[in-house]
């Protein structure tokens, strides 16, 4: 006890001395701040390095392209960013403290040399996977078009839920434990096409950071990850766009000046391709009288953003995202003779609406604030309308079901530079959440209508202190305080956060982090149906808020002047108060007592070691990512209360990606993925037991399988090779055109989607025939999808500033000197 007190006192004394020392120096020093943008488009540059030339010490710009740096004139500041010319700012006095730095893109074909000051390794964040748009676009995925989440799944600690899905499992967390933020605004439902395509349109993405642990205090509300997606701003100088088509969807983007000075807009959209396919098949089937209804399934999404830099200190941003998946069946038949009429209209629709407005303001070179007001909505609804008009009767029947979640969020985030080596981030947010997990309406019945709306208020405040000590230690110590209130249930949580980097050598840093996070909404889903069955339920008296503790340590190093980088992270995570459906329940829509169908109090553990090595520069780039992990779950009502492997536990996960840029036109990429098979529950025997007929009440003996411990066996390992080639050229009209050719699962590995037991002679007999006892044999089967899947996508850019003169020379074939020759046309 005495020893601990001594340590605390010494620490306080040390910090005080450091502060005096810093204050003594402060007479000549002052702060500068500013924004770094692309000179051509005005797009903010995230992660640009702003450093003092003489001592090569600096900071990186944040997600708003904003930086703060303490300087002592005279001094030169170098601003650099990969792919851009460096910019030098000479500061001789303290008259100007706010800078807008515009970097010009490098024209590499003019022979300019790319020299980039790399961000200090000490300031680089651990437990964060960062993806550039180049990485997203170069790695092959199923369907051919880039998908940010599928690329993220290749990084250590991040796994897909099932093959080819865009749902993430981060360090053994549940799929609903990832906080997807679109410009700091939460997006609730993140996939199209039953999880196979993510809702994040790559045309709209500037950068993506995925925090797997060590969350800054600013972030919370979800236990396992923060997926921070920064959207692009439109080009402020001129209009441009693109159009792209793949095997699943077509997409477009349009951007340009927004009317006001220093303003811009960008609109991107995607529409699935196969609606027309289904409609065509349905029409043909109707024509040949194989069926009398039409069926379509499809999705769309649209993003729009308006940005206005009103003056040097103020900027405004308005975003809207809307995306839906829909499945519809309809019929409209009329008998010409009898005038009888039947109309059927059935459908499921599910998706998001997100709108937000934000105001960023530079109060002083030391103080910056960003305020955002947003509205997010996820809803799943189904409708069944049947109308019949007969000579003797008319019937109009309507049933609707709905589950939705709405979130109105106000947040204010501040940055303050207290001292030279002490920066502070603080802020607060208040969120009003309306949950409607379960609404059912029957036009004919007055007792079947269930309106079960739940209101909740979720508020939080945070403080993060970033200290630099001895130029070797970068420490971030913070706390997040959150309070959740809903229908008499109150959950107050204090979430400490700590993240410490220690520079042990020039290019080597060690890290240790700890965090606690609380989550107040549970995502329920059934493994047997992922199409449209996600339901969010709010925490309450019966289903308490979940929380997690995670600690990690890591090392990061750079070699050969940053050409190679490597990192290792070891983590341990505990999850508490997890919730899931009770055994045998898969849906709560239409159920007024839905809370009874959910079991809570579940616990989870995940531990693992992650390894990542990257080659960052040169024509040959790539990475090797490996994770060894173990993840378990424990519920009192499952598996006799014993701990069991998590449904998506995969101990080994390896990804090897190699890309090569042959020239300006051609680049290729190869990706090999290996993962341990997912667990399944084995049959261990069969027993004869009394069966009670539900309809008649009769009791008779029948055989039933006995399953062993939950998830105690494992499917065969998963592996595949994906290949891609990208061809870029200037088209006949001077427009840039890209073709991407890819092959998913090139060697046609039959990976198991899942295992199941079935009779070995199930298809030998008709369904009405009884299988003789001798043929009644059981076997274990696997179901596989996605053999070799080739795909192609096409993208054309409409940008008159980069449009190049048509260099194609028309040629014709002539016979000259007895030989067939190609000559230029006259």
């Amino acid at each position: 006890m005495i020893r601990t007190t001594h340590i605390i006192l010494i620490t306080i004394l040390f910090l005080s001395l450091s502060t005096f020392q810093v204050q003594a120096q402060q007479s000549q020093q002052f702060y500068i701040s500013g924004f770094v943008n692309d000179a051509a488009t005005g797009e903010r540059l995230i992660g640009a390095n702003v450093s003092i030339e003489s001592i090569n010490k600096g900071v990186a710009t944040d997600n708003l392209g904003y930086f703060v740096l303490q300087v002592e004139p005279p001094v030169n500041i170098i601003v650099s960013y990969l792919g851009y010319k460096n910019e030098k700012i000479s500061i001789t006095n303290n008259e100007k403290k706010l800078f807008h730095v515009a970097l010009s893109p490098l024209q590499t074909d003019l022979g300019e040399v790319e020299i980039v000051a790399r961000p200090e390794i000490l300031t680089q964040q651990f437990n964060v996977s960062t993806l550039s748009s180049k990485e997203i676009e170069s790695i092959p995925v199923l369907g051919g078009k880039p998908d940010v989440i599928k690329v993220a799944q290749l990084l250590p600690g991040i796994e897909p839920m099932n093959e080819a899905t865009s749902t993430m499992i981060v360090r053994g967390g549940n799929p609903g434990e990832n906080n997807y933020l679109f410009d700091n605004v939460p997006v609730i439902h993140v996939s199209h096409l039953g999880g196979f395509i993510s809702v994040f349109n790559p045309d709209m993405i500037n950068s993506i950071d995925i925090y797997k642990g060590g969350f800054p205090a600013k972030y919370g509300d979800k236990l396992s990850s923060i997926v921070n997606i920064t959207q692009r701003e439109g080009d402020k100088s001129h209009y441009k766009g693109s159009f792209s088509a793949g095997i699943t969807d077509v997409s477009f983007s349009v951007e340009g000046p927004g009317g006001l000075k220093n303003s811009s807009f960008i609109i991107t959209g995607r529409k699935s391709f196969f609606d027309l396919y289904y409609l065509g098949v349905s029409s043909i089937a109707k024509l040949v009288e194989a069926q009398d209804y039409s069926f379509i399934y499809g999705f769309h999404d649209i993003n729009a953003k308006y940005s206005w830099q009103m003056n040097e200190k103020n900027s405004f941003h308005f975003n809207i995202y809307q995306g839906d998946d829909y499945m519809k069946i309809w019929m409209n038949e009329k008998d010409k003779q009898s005038n009888d009429r039947i109309k059927l209209n059935m459908g499921n629709t599910w998706g998001n609406l997100v709108t937000s407005g934000s105001w960023n303001h530079v109060v002083s070179p030391k103080l910056f604030v960003s305020n955002t007001l947003s509205y997010s909505q996820y809803r799943l609804k189904n409708k069944q309308n049947f109308y019949s008009e007969m000579a003797y009767d008319t019937l109009d029947y309507l049933v609707t079901g709905k589950s939705d979640l709405r979130d109105i969020l106000l947040q204010s985030n501040w940055k303050y530079s207290v001292l030279k080596n002490w920066n502070m981030e603080f802020g607060a947010s208040a969120s009003f959440i309306i949950s409607n997990p379960n609404k059912y309406y029957n036009y004919y019945s007055d007792i079947a209508t269930i309106a079960d709306r739940v209101f909740a208020l979720n508020s939080s405040a945070y403080l993060d202190n970033n200290f630099r000590l001895f130029n070797r230690i970068d420490a971030s110590l913070g706390v997040r305080i959150a309070n959740y209130y809903s229908e008499g249930y109150n959950n107050f949580s204090v979430e400490p956060r700590a993240n410490i980097n220690v520079k042990v050598a020039k290019n080597h840093v060690l890290n240790a982090s700890y965090m606690r996070v609380t989550q107040n909404a549970h995502l329920l889903f059934t493994a047997g149906s992922i199409l449209n069955n996600e339901i969010w339920v709010p925490a309450g008296k019966d289903i308490e808020s979940s929380y997690s503790d995670q600690a990690s340590i890591g090392w990061r190093g750079e070699f050969l002047d940053g050409m190679l980088s490597a990192e290792v992270d070891v983590y341990y995570k505990k999850l508490y108060n997890l919730a899931t459906y009770k055994e045998g329940y898969s849906n709560i829509i239409g159920d007024g007592n839905w809370r009874n169908k959910i079991m809570s109090g579940g616990k989870g553990t995940s531990k693992g070691i992650e390894f990542l090595m990257k080659k960052n520069t040169g024509a040959l780039t790539g990475f090797v990512s490996y994770t060894f992990s173990k993840t378990t779950r424990q519920y009192d009502l499952l598996n006799n209360g014993l701990e069991y492997p998590f449904e998506y536990d995969r101990p080994h996960s390896l990804s090897i990606d190699v890309g090569y840029q042959f020239n300006k036109k051609w680049s290729v990429n190869a990706l090999w993925v290996f993962r341990s098979g997912m667990p399944y529950t084995p049959v261990i025997a069969e027993q004869s037991l009394p069966y009670i007929d539900i309809e008649t009440g009769e009791i008779y003996y029948k055989d039933a399988l006995i399953f062993g411990e939950r998830n105690s066996e494992r499917m065969s390992p998963y592996h595949r090779l994906d290949l891609a080639a990208k061809y870029s050229k200037i088209g006949k009209r001077g427009r840039k055109v890209e073709w991407t050719f890819s092959i998913y699962n090139a060697y046609c590995q039959q990976n198991a989607f899942y295992y199941y037991y079935d009779n070995i002679n199930a298809y030998k007999y008709k369904h009405w025939q009884e299988i003789p006892e001798g043929d009644n044999r059981l076997a274990l089967y696997k179901l596989t999808y996605f053999p070799v899947v080739p795909s192609v996508s096409y993208k054309v850019y409409f940008d008159k500033t980069t449009r190049q003169p048509n260099t194609h020379v028309k040629k014709k074939l002539v016979i000259k000197d007895g030989e067939l020759r190609r000559v230029e046309k006259e």
Partner: protein, 309 residues
């Protein structure tokens, strides 16, 4: 008239071939992993459902490999206790292939059986037979709702006594004579929906009074009238209401989940978007082995005669 060039024709054929190839490539494939299932030591299973007023029959077998024939245990020593008092030792009956006791199950009594099989661990299980329930005020409701196709369906309403101070468990059955008669459908009674599935197996968890009026809706079914279309059935209704022990309740719920699992296997195989299905474990209250030992009492209600439809 627009004519296609040869190159365009070849390109369009390539596009069609590509579409066909892509479509085919998405098809799923079923492949056998193994039919050599691991062998486990046979473990005994004791099963008996004790009905009030009927003799007690105990079925003892060994669990087996799924491909093997049933494996009845004939050499067990079975001791029966009633209200913790030894009552009899039951011998195996070759004709019935089970262990029939001379004891008649009685409502309100507790039963325990101990099974000794040479070279195996001892097995034991106990349960109680609940008192039969008083069911009254049966009523036929002609239109209780509309089905998926907009057609009306009927229901019955009835009251039964219960005790809100202790957990009690029930099962309601509308026995049907043939496949063309009624089946339970879309129950919206809160006591049943509280159970989370459509089966009328429920507890008095949310009943706070000494009696409860329940509504059970059902589809009456229809039958062919010999070439003159389909005629809606209008059969007489005999409600069978069971008071069941807690073990019976847990067991029967799991049995129906298992049944759902078995019948849904075909659906998940054909559904690309379905994931792995969780396998239900069947409830057992037999210590030292598998099986179920549970009691129930039956109340047969008055016959209801629906009006002509």
């Amino acid at each position: 008239m627009m004519r296609l060039t040869k190159k365009q024709i070849i390109n369009s054929k390539l596009v069609y071939l590509l579409i066909i190839f892509l479509t085919l490539s998405l098809f799923s494939c079923r492949k056998k992993v193994t039919d050599d299932l691991p062998f486990y030591d046979p473990v005994p299973a004791v099963n008996a459902l004790l009905e009030n007023g009927k003799p007690i029959n105990i079925h003892i077998s060994f669990v087996k490999l799924p491909d093997n024939k049933s494996n009845i245990c004939k050499n067990a020593e079975v001791k029966l206790f009633v209200d913790d008092v030894y009552t009899e030792t039951i011998e195996f009956d070759e004709d019935m292939s089970l262990y029939p006791a001379s004891t008649i199950a009685e409502a309100g009594k507790k039963y325990k059986c101990q099974v000794y099989i040479p070279e195996y661990d001892n097995l034991s299980a106990e349960t109680y037979v609940p008192q039969p329930v008083n069911v009254y005020d049966l009523e036929y409701v002609g239109i209780a709702g509309y089905d998926d196709e907009g057609c009306t369906y009927p229901a019955i309403r009835f009251s039964f006594d219960t005790d809100p101070d202790k957990m009690m468990y029930y099962q309601a059955i509308l026995p049907r004579g043939s496949d063309y008669e009624y089946r339970l459908y879309n129950s919206i009674d809160p006591v049943i929906t509280n159970e989370g599935n459509e089966f009328p197996i429920f507890s008095n968890e949310i009943i706070n009074t000494n009696n409860y009026r329940m509504e059970l809706s059902f589809l009456p079914g229809s039958h062919s009238s010999g070439g003159f279309g389909w005629v809606t059935n209008n059969p007489e209704i005999v409600l069978q209401f069971r008071a069941i022990s807690e073990d019976f309740y847990k067991y029967i719920k799991q049995i129906y989940l298992y049944n759902e699992y078995e019948s849904n296997i075909g659906d998940i195989i054909n559904n690309i978007l379905a994931g792995p299905m969780q396998t239900p474990s069947i409830y057992s209250n037999v210590s030292g082995g598998y099986g179920i030992f549970a009691g129930y009492s039956v109340t047969i209600c008055d016959t209801l005669y629906p009006p002509e439809r």
